[in-house]
C-alpha cells in the first residue's frame, strides 16, 4: 500500500491503486477505521497543497484539518460518478483555499517564510550549487505571485501528476479550458523568468 513514497507511475499500478481507493471509500462509509486509512494516504499531499499556498505552517495545518473534517462529513454522500476520490478531496481543499484567498485579500498577511529552509531541507546536500538554489528560489517566488487557479494547476500537474481531465474536475472547468490555462501559465512564466533557466535549450531561438 502506498503511503508516503513516490506515487505509482505505470498504468497497471495506477489502476490497482484506484481500485483499492474505491474499496476503501466504500468501506469508509460504514467503518470509521477505513476513513483513517484514506487519511493516511492523503494527509501529506493535502498538507503540502495548502502549504504551497499559505507558506505558513499553522494555516496549512488548519486548512488540512478542515479539508479532512469536511471530507468525513461528506463521504456518506460521495459517489464516484466520474469524479475520483482524489479529485473530490482536492476540490474540497481548493474551495477552502479559494475562501482563504478571499479572507487574505481582506487581511493580507501572506509571506514567503521558510523558502530557504525548505530548499535546503529538500536538497539535503550541503554542497548543492548556490546558483541553482537561487534560481529555484526565484522560480518559487514567481510561483507564489501567480493567481490561485494557476498555482493549483501547476501543483496538481507537476506535484500530483494529475491528468487534465481530473484537474478540470477539481477546478470545476472544462478540459479544454484547463489546456488553455496551462499554456497561458507556461507562456506567462517564460516571459517573467526569461529563458536562461531553460539550461541552454535553444528551442526558442528557432
Amino acid at each position: 500500500m502506498w503511503l508516503y513514497g513516490p506515487k505509482p507511475d505505470s498504468e497497471s499500478e495506477k489502476e490497482a491503486e484506484s481500485a483499492e481507493i474505491r474499496q476503501l471509500v466504500a468501506r469508509a462509509k460504514a467503518e470509521p477505521e477505513a476513513f483513517g486509512q484514506l487519511y493516511q494516504r492523503y494527509v501529506r499531499r493535502i498538507y503540502n497543497y495548502h502549504y504551497q499556498f499559505t507558506r505558513h505552517r499553522e494555516e496549512a495545518e488548519d486548512l488540512t484539518s478542515r479539508t479532512f473534517f469536511q471530507a468525513l462529513r461528506g463521504i456518506s454522500t460521495y459517489h464516484d460518478r466520474g469524479l475520483p476520490f482524489q479529485a473530490w478531496l482536492f476540490r474540497i481543499a481548493h474551495n477552502l483555499i479559494a475562501n482563504w484567498y478571499r479572507d487574505q485579500s481582506r487581511h493580507p498577511v501572506i509571506g514567503l517564510d521558510g523558502l530557504d529552509d525548505e530548499m535546503h531541507a529538500e536538497e539535503g546536500n550541503p554542497q548543492a550549487d548556490l546558483a541553482e538554489r537561487e534560481r529555484q528560489k526565484e522560480l518559487l517566488q514567481l510561483f507564489s505571485g501567480l493567481p490561485e487557479d494557476r498555482k493549483t494547476l501547476l501543483l496538481l500537474k507537476f506535484v500530483e501528476k494529475m491528468p487534465n481531465a481530473e484537474i478540470a474536475k477539481v477546478l470545476g472547468r472544462s478540459e479544454g479550458a484547463i489546456k488553455v490555462l496551462y499554456h497561458r501559465t507556461l507562456l506567462g512564466l517564460r516571459e517573467k523568468a526569461g529563458s536562461e533557466w531553460l539550461g541552454g535549450e535553444d528551442v526558442f531561438e528557432a
Binding site: 470509521p32 476513513f35 483513517g36 487519511y39 498538507y47 502549504y51 529538500e122
Partner: protein
C-alpha cells in the same frame, strides 16, 4: 527551399496570438517540472500534527458512526411501534365492526319476531 511544418499550439495572449511548438512546450514543461517539483513537494506535516488530527478524525468518525447507529435503532423502534399500533388498530376496528354488526343483527331479529 524546404518547408518544415511543426505541430503548434496557438494561444491568445493579450491581443496577440502566441505560438508554441510541441518541442517548446515540452522544454518549458520539463524545465519547470525539474525546477519546481522538488520545492513544491517539500511541505510535510509534523508527525505530532498528523497523529493528533488522525486521533481527532477517528474520534469524530466513531461519533458519527455511533450517531448513525443510534438513528437507525430509533428508526427500527419507531417502525416496530408503528407496525404494532396498526395491528392493534386493525384489531380494534374489527372488534368495533363486529360489535356493531352483532347489535344490528340482534335488533333486526327483534324486529322480525315482533
Amino acid at each position: 527551399m524546404s518547408l518544415r511544418l511543426e505541430p503548434t499550439v496557438s494561444i491568445k495572449h493579450g491581443n496577440t496570438w502566441e505560438k508554441l511548438t510541441l518541442a517548446q512546450q515540452a522544454a518549458l514543461e520539463g524545465a519547470w517540472a525539474s525546477a519546481l517539483t522538488p520545492a513544491l513537494s517539500a511541505g510535510r506535516p509534523s508527525s505530532q500534527f498528523a497523529t493528533q488530527l488522525s486521533q481527532q478524525l477517528s474520534a469524530a468518525a466513531r461519533k458519527a458512526w455511533e450517531a448513525q447507529q443510534r438513528h437507525e435503532r430509533q428508526l427500527r423502534t419507531a417502525s416496530l411501534v408503528g407496525g404494532l399500533f396498526s395491528v392493534v388498530g386493525g384489531v380494534v376496528v374489527w372488534l368495533l365492526w363486529r360489535q356493531r354488526h352483532k347489535t344490528e343483527h340482534a335488533s333486526a331479529t327483534k324486529l322480525s319476531v315482533a
